[in-house]
């Protein structure tokens, strides 16, 4: 036993932790590195030289980047908004009510995220076909909403389980109607859960490829555009430039959400 009481990880454990970190982050580092390479056909290591010209190319000479980026942002935003509303309502309903078959229904809500994307994709595509719905932004949104709702639902349900049910009654007892109770008591309780669920839903939607392939028709979201770029050997580092931007843009809100929810957990935990 060490006298300071904090056990120290063994050498093997520290080594495998370091390897784990490397395994996760070296590919990311390579993506960033090759955004600066001077060579545009193959990714030889080490890069023959470093340049910033691909950033200029991406910005000025590649108008084909912008429509997929815009579509992806639009789809992710709408799917997240839809998921926040429907996921919260579903969680609230299943938390409060108890009825025969509740567990099965709960499972049905979670199933879309456990189901392989390819199944969801095929199922949606045939459904759209049968109903004669043409492909549009909305068919992509619907495809993404299937799994976005699940992450919001799960987050909010977990929060509801930790929240005392008599709090809602207490609020109504003190004169607040349903809407005021939601605004002053329920929403602050689930706010961080909504934020975390929403961030996750947005991220899942933003990089989704499989379901999108089946529900997008001729439209291209950003991930699909990137996939196509890798097959075409033209100005390859431009793809990396876009990837770097995506990393930068997604990293900041995720960091923010992490700090915000960590704070939330802290105050919730201190209530015990």
């Amino acid at each position: 036993m060490r006298s300071d009481g904090t056990p120290r990880a063994g050498l093997g454990l520290r080594l495998s932790a370091a390897l784990g970190i490397l395994f996760l982050h070296v590919p990311l580092a390579l993506i960033v590195l090759y955004a600066f390479t001077t060579e545009d056909k193959s990714f030889a290591f080490p890069p023959p030289g470093l340049t910033l010209k691909w950033f200029a190319t991406a910005w000025f000479d590649r108008p084909d980047i912008w429509p997929p980026l815009w579509l992806s942002l639009k789809v992710a935003a709408i799917a997240t908004a839809l998921a926040l509303v429907l996921g919260t309502l579903a969680a609230a309903a299943l938390h409060r009510a108890s009825f025969f078959g509740k567990d099965s229904l709960s499972l049905l809500f979670i199933l879309p995220i456990a189901l392989p994307g390819i199944i969801t994709g095929i199922a949606l595509r045939s459904a759209f076909d049968i109903m004669g719905i043409p492909f549009s932004t909305w068919t992509i949104v619907l495809g993404h909403a299937t799994f976005c709702i699940v992450v919001v639902y799960n987050n909010v349900l977990a929060r509801f389980r930790r929240t005392s049910g008599s709090m809602i009654e207490a609020s109504m007892d003190l004169g607040a109607d349903g809407f005021q109770t939601f605004r002053h008591v329920v929403l602050p309780q689930i706010a961080t859960a909504l934020l975390a669920g929403g961030m996750l839903a947005f991220a899942l939607s933003f990089d989704e490829v499989i379901v999108t392939t089946f529900t997008a028709g001729q439209q291209s979201t950003l991930p699909i555009w990137m996939l196509n770029e890798l097959i075409r050997p033209r100005q390859r580092p431009v793809t990396n430039v876009v990837a770097v931007l995506v990393i930068a843009v997604t990293f900041l809100p995720i960091l923010l959400a992490y700090y915000l929810t960590r704070d939330g957990e802290h105050t919730a935990g201190s209530g015990k």
């Binding site: 207490a170 003190l174 004169g175 607040a176 105050t267 209530g271």
Partner: protein
């Protein structure tokens, strides 16, 4: 003047379960009223019917002369102190207490002043900026009380508010609640399963069993003259004598109860007279000022409570219990 709360043949059924079954009661303004019963006896459902969290299946409820059935909780001049306090963890103590006023649209300055007053009333002055998570159980209970009282309810409902506190704190809160109720003159309706608490605090007690009120009256009334075996059993540890036993020992033919304090314990001398019974002592329980002596007499368990200094017996001895016939209280068989 109308009753503070009036139930006329009120029932609340959940499917086939009759949680509250044809209950009628009148609670007078300014009364400290306790609803006492085992869990599942309908007392909490009755409280929720007054608060508006439940609506009656049948019957009529009035609060200060106004029809209450159909009104949601937020339209009733009653407030509740919840068993688990139900404080809002994301608000400070001050915001918790001022919540009802904030909903009513009272200005910030006024509601802060009134919250401060309410906190001072329950001896938590200066706690406004704390979070409920930083308080002890007893302090949270006080905040819950202040949060209800600040709205000046006509009736304050308390759902086992002392259940989660330790014994010493509970006794202290019992006294304070009583004093507070005298000071404010508000009608208090109090739900508890603790008969000691109900008897020591309330002006009047209603005993619930299986969704019905089996007896209502002053604490002395209920304690001294239980009307049924259930009440005698539930309120304190009264001796219950079956008709046969009662007749053999000089009492009436019928179920009777006998308070442990009404029994004298003597050494057996001569023949057993009417109004007495011999039995072997199977338990001697020292409880401070009193000692409870338990004997088995002709298959009936009898308990006497006698001053601790006066005991000259040991377990296994035979003792004679004697009582006055007038101390026997006839009651119903159920």
């Amino acid at each position: 003047m109308p009753s503070a709360v009036r139930f006329q043949n009120v029932s609340r059924h959940f499917g086939t379960v009759r949680a509250v079954d044809d209950v009628s009661l009148d609670i007078a303004p300014g009364e400290f009223f306790a609803m006492l019963g085992p869990s599942g006896s309908g007392k909490t459902t009755c409280l929720r019917l007054i608060a508006g969290f439940e609506q009656p299946t049948a019957g009529h409820i009035e609060i200060f002369g106004e029809t209450a059935e159909g009104l949601p909780p937020y339209r009733r001049a009653v407030n509740t102190v919840f068993q688990d306090y139900a404080l809002f963890p994301h608000m400070t103590v001050g915001e918790n207490v001022a919540y009802g006023l904030m909903i009513k649209g009272v200005s910030r300055a006024e509601r802060e002043a009134r919250a401060k007053q309410a906190l001072a009333l329950i001896k938590l002055a200066g706690f406004e900026a704390r979070r409920p998570g930083q308080l002890s159980g007893g302090q949270r209970q006080r905040v819950a009380l202040a949060r209800a009282l600040v709205n000046e309810p006509k009736v304050l409902l308390l759902d086992e508010p002392l259940g989660a506190l330790d014994l010493k704190l509970r006794e202290q809160m019992q006294e304070e609640l009583r004093a507070l109720q005298h000071q404010l003159g508000i009608t208090f309706v109090f739900v508890t399963h603790d008969q000691g608490e109900a008897l020591s605090m309330a002006d009047r007690v209603a005993i619930f069993n299986e969704g019905r009120i089996v007896q209502a009256g002053t604490p002395a009334d209920i304690y001294e003259r239980p009307r049924s075996r259930f009440v005698a059993d539930f309120v304190g540890s009264s001796n219950v004598m079956a008709p046969e036993f009662s007749r053999q020992h000089g009492g009436p033919t019928g179920w009777v109860s006998l308070r442990p304090e009404a029994i004298r314990v003597e050494a057996p001398r001569g023949k057993v007279q009417p109004g007495s019974a011999d039995g072997q002592i199977i338990g001697l329980h020292y409880q401070g000022a009193l000692t409870r002596v338990v004997i088995m007499a002709d298959g009936t368990r009898l308990i006497a409570a006698v001053p601790s200094g006066s005991i000259a017996f040991a377990e296994g001895d035979t003792a004679r219990f004697t009582w006055d016939r007038a101390a026997l209280v006839p009651m119903a068989a159920d």
